[in-house]
Symmetry: C2
Subunit: 403 residues, 2 copies
């Protein structure tokens, strides 16, 4: 599906076009409702093996999309990359680089010379997969807040249905960071016989209470914006950009570590060497950075998708969902090999949660390895520390899967 261009740097999957598939059956949701129709946006990189045994599913985080690698054929105005200081252009000034381009491609961590990588926009998304901004067939208007409340398991069932439609039964691996890592773990529990390996990065089995609180604040910032209009802002000419901006700013700071902010911005002022005595203008560089992040995010992301996805990742709790409160019990049926990675400075998805998963799997006799990488960029490390993740992932994947 990818077309290598001669001018691209080595390791690029080339220019990629997002594809769309309408699922033949309704998706049954945890909340009891069924969703139909469901369209899934996806991209693929590499070639499917004749035995269809070299598939890696890549799952994105809160604000990502299906465009994980290469250059978008029709690049959006704003990149979906969430990395701290990351750019949506490559060295040659091309726009539309995928959010995990450093990890997916020939010779990269997820090596497209060997694997067929599938990346989807998650259920509830706003980048091609059915979500709150899609048309509700019952009304002919966008669902808005009538969209059913979804879970990570619902996202995984949708991914399963897409792969069914593509004729793919087994996964050599399912991989992702943050919310994407949650999906990977959920896959191993929901479909234990169909997943050979899990790569869960900067993730958790259940977000800790402070993380739940940050998500609640971000959602409240959106819902308190009068332009949200109870979730039915589509077609009104107004959208909760102000609240979304605040939500994004909260998110950004939680994705980074305090030392990273100190290194990047310090207390440097925007103008000259002194303060200007202003309440409403940015004075510090970090204040200006936050406003820029807020402004660019609202242009490309739907507020309701933010709400639904944030809610899903706070609900996610493997012990509650599958173990009657016990993480060990929840993981009992897992048969995949599991690779966990965490970053020392990640305080939103701290290494302690990955350690709990590792210990539970190890006590059950399951194959698992955990790597805690010393790095300073907080949660965003999963998007930035490509060079340090790559050898670990390549070695892990080389131990299993197709020849």
């Amino acid at each position: 599906m990818s077309q290598p261009a001669p001018t691209l740097a080595p390791g690029s999957v080339g220019t990629v076009e997002t594809q769309y598939l309408d699922l033949p059956q309704p998706v049954r949701l945890d909340c009891g409702r069924e969703l139909h129709p469901v369209r899934v946006a996806y991209e693929t990189y590499g070639a499917l093996s004749p035995r269809r045994d070299n598939v890696i599913l890549v799952c994105h985080a809160l604000s990502g999309d299906a465009h994980a690698a290469g250059f978008a054929k029709a690049p959006p105005e704003e990149s979906t990359r969430d990395g701290f200081g990351s750019e949506d252009r490559d060295g040659a000034g091309r726009k539309g680089l995928g959010w995990w381009d450093g990890m997916i491609g020939p010779g990269k961590a997820f090596d497209t010379d060997r694997f067929f990588v599938v990346s989807t926009n998650l259920l509830g998304g706003c980048r091609g997969t059915t979500g709150p901004s899609s048309i509700d067939p019952a009304t002919g208007k966008p669902y808005g807040s009538d969209f059913p409340v979804i879970t990570v398991a619902d996202m995984v069932r949708t991914e399963r249905a897409l792969l069914d439609a593509l004729g793919i039964e087994r996964l050599a691996a399912v991989a992702g960071g943050s919310l994407g890592g949650m999906q990977a773990l959920e896959w191993a529990i929901l479909f234990p016989d169909q997943v050979d390996a899990v790569v869960s990065i900067a993730s958790t089995h259940a977000l800790h209470p402070q993380g739940v609180a940050w998500n609640a604040i971000a959602r409240d910032a959106i819902m308190r914006d009068p332009a949200w209009q109870g979730g039915h802002y589509h077609g009104t000419g107004r959208s909760p950009d102000a609240g979304m901006g605040v939500a994004r700013m909260v998110g950004h700071i939680t994705y980074l570590s305090a030392p990273a902010l100190s290194e990047k911005f310090g207390r440097r002022l925007q103008f000259a060497d002194d303060i200007r005595y202003t309440i409403d203008e940015p004075e510090f560089e970090v204040e200006n950075y936050l406003r820029h992040q807020a402004d660019s995010f609202v242009k490309r992301f739907d507020a309701n998708t933010y709400l639904y996805t944030s809610r899903a990742l706070t609900y996610f709790d493997l012990a509650r969902q599958h173990g009657g409160g016990s993480l060990a019990q929840a993981l009992e049926g897992v048969s995949a090999r599991t690779l966990l990675m965490a970053f020392s400075s990640d305080w939103l998805y701290p290494p302690s949660a990955s350690k709990e998963i590792e210990e539970a799997l190890r006590a059950l006799g399951k194959p698992v390895e955990l790597h805690v990488i010393e790095a300073m960029y907080g949660h965003d490390c999963f998007l930035l520390e490509e060079a340090r993740q790559t050898p670990i992932i390549r070695r892990f994947l080389a131990q299993g899967g197709p020849g």
Copy 2:
């Protein structure tokens, strides 16, 4: 000024009435403007010695007021106490307990059997001292965002003017936590000959960039609320309660540590044993707690005061203001003995900043001591860990001052 009531617990200063004083002269501000008239709300506890040498000035933090100890004669509906889980009632159900009541009174850290304690509402406040909600004599209407942008030094100059009016020249000590601790340090620099001792708790010489960012987000949440109306919401029947609520929620989480949130709330759900699949209702106890904190705060606090006070505490930077970028140079003129306290789990005002102050003072040969207290409740510890602060403060104050 305090009237011990026989039914009060030992150590209480009794029922206290806030007093008001109109400063005879304009206050000259860092921004170049003069402010006049300026009224200051204050309370006093204990008795002024004949030599007027037993005065301790207590300075409050972002959302406090002059009512630091005892019971308010006319208690407000909502307490000004910011502590995690703190109550605005005592054991007997009385309302209106001062925000530092555990620290001020007979036999307490700031012992009113020995000291005359003065507590003021800071300049720019909304609890009796002139601030953005006060009437602008030029227009006859509330200043709103026409109020001049103020600094911590401006707050200190106003406190100096109040004490002048009360006939008090010297301070045996100036004390405070957080923004209050900033004021205490500023006093030692602006008026070195008039301060014998400084007690600066959970504070800093300059907020670190992550703290600057949190404050920027809180202010943006208020200013993005359409009801803020550019700062001129008084008299319109609308006020930016939605944005203020978000600001308060952000504040609350930064005042607490992640372990404290885990201990207090865990991932406990609000209702029954399972989720209810809702976007807009609180599901987790911590979500409900946040909304409650937001709702109660907006009833008692002015949004513009929040903006101005937050801006002042981000501007505060002793090295920039007084040392040409050097903290050591800024502290060169200090003659007060300095007591610094910090809390191990305080990530908003981390111990590292207090260590920097200690090292700079020590290198200059100034008397200084730093105590880092191991405690889990984050920044709020300065309001909660009274038992552990008290012996340190009592011993420190006993080393100097009046007999």
